[in-house]
């Protein structure tokens, strides 16, 4: 297994480099210029050209590419054009926020989705099953930014204006007094801010996971070994959770890896709506401002996430299904 993981990781290096190279040329050859954001009559064309020189953009593209590769080899992603800070510093600051949000959402989504899926499978065609299916489809088909806006309106604006007992902040990852809070209060404050964005992301995911779990459970429940388990007098709980669920989860678990990249695209909207300082919004802003170093750095991180996500899926597959071996 270790050999397999190492081999896959090594194999990913040319893949990630290839992706980065393509992105490098696409963003650099796209129309527009990082100096455009200063466009105004009070800026002389000479000053604009000088900005390009100061940013290193006066060099031909192949030289820039080689330099970029050289710096990358030393772990240097350059300095952002629009934020004027080293890209590695910015990513270090923002990536944990995105990971916190994504993993929380994935966790909530899987717990919620699997539980719901089991319930629906066990009570197939019951009223509960139908209601859960309809509600699930409702969330599944909802664009995440719209759901997020509705969450803001409902649980932040209306909750506050109408004086509900529960109220959640609509933006940011912490209160402005965060620095003055005790460690326990800090955790509570962070979770309080995490609730709306994580729920918005998780609901959409959970709906899909519930469908997968339900289908997979229904398939397993009709297998002979389940009948055998029941016949030998095992309690229904053991039959469902120990025998059926274990097998039914095999296809569902692998979704973890496949959902990771999907999540990162989903967080762009969520991060925007909830002013969550994270990678998704960073990269989108960078694209609009032609901030090449951030686009490159962010894409690299995302590419690695996707590679890791796929690897996790493969590994999990082997873990839950003994028939699969990577040798």
């Amino acid at each position: 297994m270790t050999t397999f993981i190492v081999r896959r990781l090594l194999g990913a290096i040319p893949l990630v480099l290839g992706i980065a190279t393509i992105i490098f040329f696409v963003v650099n050859l796209a129309p527009g210029d990082p100096a455009d954001r200063f466009s105004s009559p009070s800026m002389s064309p000479e000053a604009r050209e000088q900005i390009r020189v100061n940013l290193g953009l006066d060099q031909p593209i192949h030289i820039r590419y080689v330099r970029w590769l050289g710096a990358l080899a030393q772990g240097d992603l350059g300095v952002s054009f629009s934020r004027n800070r080293p890209v590695t510093d910015i990513i270090q600051e923002l990536l944990p926020n995105t990971l916190l949000l994504s993993f929380t959402a994935i966790g909530v989504a899987f717990v919620l989705g699997i539980l719901l899926g089991i319930l629906q499978a066990v009570r197939q065609y019951s009223l509960l099953d139908s209601i859960a299916s309809i509600v699930g489809l409702f969330f599944y088909s909802m664009p995440s930014f719209w759901l997020a806006l509705m969450m803001v309106l409902l649980f932040s604006l209306f909750a506050s204006v109408w004086g509900w007992p529960i109220y959640f902040p609509a933006s940011d990852i912490q209160s402005i007094d965060y620095a003055f809070l005790s460690p326990f209060e800090k955790v509570r404050d962070r979770l309080w801010h995490l609730t709306l964005p994580a729920t918005s992301l998780a609901l959409v995911l959970a709906a899909g996971i519930a469908r997968y779990t339900r289908a997979s459970m229904l398939e397993e429940i009709r297998q002979d070994f389940v009948r055998t388990a029941r016949a030998k007098g095992l309690s229904e709980r053991v039959v469902i959770f120990k025998h059926t669920l274990r097998n039914a989860l095999i296809p569902v678990i692998t979704l973890v890896g496949l959902y990771l990249p999907f999540l990162f695209s989903g967080t762009v909207f969520i991060e925007t709506v909830f002013a969550w300082p994270g990678m998704g919004k960073l990269v989108v802003d960078a694209i609009l401002q032609r901030d090449y170093p951030i686009i490159m750095g962010g894409s690299l991180v995302f590419a690695m996430m996707v590679v890791v996500g796929n690897l996790v899926a493969d590994v999990l597959y082997a873990v839950v299904d003994p028939r699969i071996r990577y040798d």
Partner: protein, 587 residues
């Protein structure tokens, strides 16, 4: 290790749902004790040698004020301001041009030599006084001797001279070079007379003082050794700025917030320490979220709510809406190099065939004024009567103008042609992602169809659009754009025939009479004398119609009622932030 971490994160996720139910109170308290230093002040920019050194010095200097009780009941509390954008270049005036950045540099973290009063008359700020030589070729500033950089150094004339030298150094690529066109940029341009007196040489100009209102003075002792080409990406700007203004930089969380705290060493002669203990600027991109935060008390000031959010702000008991004329206008620029648009009568017809008041009412909910020239309402040279009748909405007049220019519908398809059979079909371009500009293009399409003009709205990505309209071969007919004007009004780059092939000569205007005004107006120092000349110039623009000047939008701001002493106008939202205060029971 990685797996263990993952497990912890998922555990956190499980907790979230439970926490939601108990996190019920409306945000943590904002109570402020006696004057104290922010914990994070000492942490800014750790890992970067420059930052570690300067933040240690700031902490050391400020610690002597620790524990001092604020001098009045108005002191205390934290004020939170939010808008949709980051402050991209931070507190680094050498490289910045952005509005929010310049506001923070001028009024929050740094200081300018002079500020404007509400009539745009220069008032002393960092400069105590100044005098201009009789032939208007020299200006001498006397700098205050009681303004300290936040690390304890005195601000002096050398800082002023340093800031000027950086600004005119081509390698800095100062984005506002136009400020200094009438200043002597040679080696004799600036002379430090003594530590608090500095002299500049210049050519006479109506707005000779204006650059000193716009340019925040920068610390020579911190940045003097940095090569000009590296200033832009220096950590001073966004990681650990050290200013001399009423607020000390504390923390910058990327894409999230900037925190400042009141400067206890701010000179008593300028009002002393600001009333609020802390000032936080937050970045919230989504405007629905911004409005929600304002209405739920998470924000004190929402910079620039959308016009369609104004009613919600007015309706709320907790907040007020401020409305005032601002410095920007929206326009549709016409490429007069195109055969369809070469005749000024056609351009006049396009303006007269468009019901701009209706568009102001529909798109701005009435928060704006129809524009007929490039001088905005806040400005002393503004004259509302110009073009009001000549360019009023009148479809018959528009049709008559087109007929006279030889554009007649010859084949009965509803679109006019000229004698050679060229159809009066134009495209109006706008940038992707700007709904208001899209609406303008589409409304014009509908309205101008009535007078026989075929308009095709065309969306183009921003950077591409700038290239298309700014560079030969100028691939556009009409374009929806906007300008934010400075106090130092100067349309030379837009309309002077000398600049016809330069970037901003979108229309390609070539009129000697307009050129003459553009040359002479900057030299008329006396405003009484200048005002009629400005009016005459504006009349020429009305006649020429290089643009359909669309509207001057009003600036809107949502303010929490607990915040007192707020004054905002065209000079900016942060104008008197050091005088804002919050009653003790509402902190």
């Amino acid at each position: 290790m990685r797996e263990a971490r993952l497990a912890r994160l998922i555990l956190v996720a499980g907790l979230t749902v439970m926490m939601g139910a108990c996190g019920g109170e409306g945000g943590a308290s904002r109570e402020a004790g006696p004057w104290m230093l922010e914990a994070s002040l000492a942490e800014a920019g750790s890992g970067i040698p420059f930052c570690e050194e300067v933040t240690a010095r700031v902490s050391a200097f400020m610690s002597q004020f620790e524990g001092q009780m604020p001098p009045s009941e108005r002191h205390g509390g934290a004020v939170v301001v939010a808008s949709i954008g980051e402050i991209p270049d931070g507190m680094n005036n050498h490289v910045s041009q952005d509005y929010t950045a310049s506001q923070h540099q001028s009024f929050v973290n740094l200081m300018t030599l002079v500020t404007y009063d509400e009539n745009q008359i220069a008032m002393p700020y960092l400069a105590e006084s100044w005098e201009v030589s009789d032939d208007a070729s020299e200006i001498t500033f006397h700098i205050r001797d009681d303004v300290y950089w936040h690390d304890g150094e005195l601000t002096d004339a050398y800082d002023v001279a340093y800031t000027f030298k950086r600004a005119i150094d081509p390698e800095t690529a100062f984005p506002n070079a136009a400020y200094w066109t009438h200043y002597d940029q040679g080696p004799d341009g600036v002379e430090v007379v003594d530590s608090f007196t500095v002299k500049f040489r210049m050519r006479p100009h109506a707005d000779y003082i204006d650059p000193w209102r716009a340019t925040a003075i920068m610390p020579e002792h911190l940045l003097g050794d940095v090569p000009s080409t590296e200033l832009r990406q220096h950590p001073y700007g966004t990681v650990c700025p050290v200013g001399n203004g009423p607020f000390i930089f504390v923390e910058h969380r990327e894409a999230a917030s900037w925190t400042f705290q009141a400067n206890p060493a701010f000179p008593a002669g300028l009002g002393g320490r600001p009333y609020v203990d802390r000032y936080v600027y937050r970045v919230i991109t989504e405007q629905t979220t911004l409005l929600t935060e304002l209405l739920t008390g998470g924000l004190d000031v929402y910079i620039r709510p959308m016009p369609d959010q104004a009613q919600a702000v007015i309706d709320s008991d907790a907040v007020d809406l401020l409305q005032y004329p601002f410095r920007s206008y929206v326009l549709v620029g016409w490429n007069a190099r195109r055969p369809q648009l070469a005749d000024k009568r056609v351009r006049q017809a396009l303006t007269r065939g468009t019901n701009r008041q209706e568009i102001v009412d529909a798109l701005l909910q009435g928060y704006g004024t129809v524009a007929n020239g490039s001088v905005p309402p806040f400005h002393w040279a503004y004259d509302p009567s110009i073009g009001r009748d000549a360019m009023s909405y009148d479809q018959d007049a528009a049709r008559a103008l087109l007929d006279a220019a030889g554009w007649v519908d010859r084949d009965g398809d509803g679109v006019r042609e000229n004698a050679e059979g060229v159809r009066l079909a134009i495209s109006i371009k706008y940038n992707h992602g700007n709904d208001m500009r899209q609406d303008i293009a589409e409304i014009m399409q509908a309205q101008l169809a009535d007078i026989g003009v075929e308009v095709t709205p065309t969306v183009v990505e921003w950077g591409t659009l700038l290239d298309q309209i700014g560079q030969s071969p100028r691939d556009f007919d009409g374009v929806v754009m906007g300008w934010v004007v400075e106090y130092k009004l100067d349309d030379t780059d837009l309309f002077h025939s000398r600049n016809i092939s330069a970037t901003y000569a979108w229309s390609g205007t070539q009129r000697p009479d307009i050129d003459r005004f553009l040359d002479e107006l900057p030299l008329v120092v006396d405003r009484e004398e200048a005002k009629p000349l400005w009016s005459q110039y504006q009349e020429l623009l009305v006649d020429e119609q290089p643009y359909t000047f669309f509207f001057f939008s009003d600036r809107l701001d949502g303010i929490n009622k607990r915040l007192r002493g707020v004054e905002m106008d065209a000079r900016g939202e942060w104008l008197n932030i050091k005088d804002w205060w919050i009653p003790a029971d509402l902190r």
